[in-house]
């Protein structure tokens, strides 16, 4: 299953990458692979911007505007001015 093409904000700075492989371990959609002791993006459009890779990268080589891809959460956030939230509709929104 693939979502929209060319929308993800994920970026990798291969220069900074130390090839620890943590991004590969935390990514739920197989976006990364290790080659020549560096992480590379092999399936950019599979990225759902969960932010796990950027949060765990020990050298800040990854950046992504993370958030929850949830229309209800975005609508609730706009209506209540409370920021985006999801999963628990009605709770904390």
């Amino acid at each position: 299953m693939n979502y929209l093409k060319n929308v993800t904000t994920l970026k990798i700075d291969t220069e900074t990458c130390i090839g620890c492989g943590l991004c590969i371990a935390v990514c739920p959609h197989g976006v990364f692979a290790l080659a020549d002791s560096k992480a590379h993006i092999i399936d950019l459009d599979a990225c759902m911007e969960c932010g796990a890779c950027a949060r765990n990268c020990p050298v800040d080589a990854l950046s992504v505007d993370s958030g929850t891809g949830c229309a209800s959460g975005i609508i609730n956030g706009l209506l209540n001015g409370s920021g985006e939230c999801c999963c628990d509709k009605g709770n904390g929104c």
């Binding site: 759902m48 949060r55 229309a71 999963c87």
Partner: protein
């Protein structure tokens, strides 16, 4: 939560059936939990799957023992949503270990990680509160992979001395993960959204949208009452029937057929499903008398199904926030226009 019986675990209001005993540790008594799910747990899971008491299905945060754990046994981190906790303890059948439950306010691991309640701060805090450094001799925490959006492994290590090992996405893979010396295979690292996963979330979708569907049905039933001969509610049953057919299509059929409906954008998948519904009901002459009313209902059905499909992005496991915002900008105005134009057609069609 008065007179707590455990130092390391907040006291439950009543003794829970899944706490089967307690064991002594250097940090005090720790409740031991069972790994078999009882009919009570199964019924509880069924209830939350139907959105009944979903926000209060919690267990007390703290440290728990599974089997006969020692100071060398692994520590598994979990959320205090009972459904998450039940999956974990069930998967730990036959394993000796510790379960450290975080306070995620009753939210599952992945969603709580997105909010940050399942996160670095709460892990560090819970490690200290449970005096985990006295209970175990190693300094490792097995954190579910889906907790990673909220957890920085580096910061956890810096702040409490425990290193984070990311476990598999699904608790059921833990036994193999342990057998493989704490290594997850690529399959274990992948989030799926298979048919059975999609079917499991359908009841919550339907329950959540029921109220809105009901309000819309009442409104449209009232608006479809105008005719040349005056006002009447003869068309009300059709309004209810059609709105709830759209509700079922958007809340059940679209999730089930999700990968088979063309288009990447969920709202567009909804348009195809809505048009399909339009064709089927139109052919069966169920959309009403007269071309204008038929057109009106067709537009409304498509708008409802498309809107519900768009909202299914939040339940799905692979949509990005950038993508959802992009499709919303186009889809929501069009859905509104279709719904309003459709309503106008129904009212006009009745009067002409």
């Amino acid at each position: 939560m008065t007179d707590c019986c455990y130092k390391t675990t907040c006291c439950p209001t009543k003794r829970e059936a899944w706490m089967i005993a307690e064991i002594e540790t250097p940090a005090g008594k720790v409740p031991r939990i069972g790994t078999c799910l009882t009919i009570h747990d199964v019924l509880g899971a069924l209830k939350v799957r139907f959105a009944v008491g979903r926000h209060n299905y919690t267990i007390p945060p703290g440290l728990y023992a599974v089997g006969e754990p020692t100071a060398e046994s692994p520590v598994f981190v979990s959320a205090n949503y009972k459904l998450s906790f039940d999956h974990l303890r069930n998967a730990l059948d036959g394993t000796n270990g510790w379960v450290m439950v975080l306070d995620t306010q009753g939210i599952n691991v992945w969603c709580a990680a997105g909010k940050g309640t399942f996160g670095t701060g709460e892990i560090v805090n819970r490690v200290k509160q449970t005096q985990l450094d006295q209970v175990v001799s190693h300094r490792k925490l097995v954190v579910p992979q889906l907790g990673a959006p909220g957890v920085s492994a580096t910061d956890v290590a810096k702040q409490c001395g425990f290193s984070v090992l990311y476990g598999p996405v699904r608790a059921e893979d833990i036994p193999v993960f342990l057998k493989n010396n704490f290594t997850a295979t690529p399959t274990m690292r992948h989030v799926r959204f298979a048919l059975r996963d999609r079917i499991a979330v359908i009841p919550v979708e339907l329950v959540i949208w029921f109220k809105q569907a009901l309000i819309l049905a009442v409104l449209l039933a009232l608006l479809s009452g105008f005719s040349r001969d005056g006002y009447g509610l003869a068309n009300a049953p059709r309004a209810f029937g059609l709105v709830f057919t759209a509700w079922l299509t958007g809340g059940a059929l679209v999730p089930m057929l999700l990968p088979f409906i063309p288009a990447r954008a969920f709202s567009l998948k909804g348009v195809w499903a809505g048009l399909g519904l339009w064709v089927v009901l139109g052919t069966a002459k169920l959309l009403g008398p007269g071309g204008l009313i038929e057109l009106g209902w067709g537009l409304i059905l498509t708008a409802i199904v498309s809107f519900m499909a768009l909202n299914f992005t939040g339940t799905s496991t692979y949509t990005s926030v950038s993508g959802v915002k992009k499709e919303m900008k186009i889809a929501i105005p069009l859905q509104l226009i279709a719904a309003l134009a459709g309503t106008a057609c129904i009212v006009l069609g009745g009067l002409l």
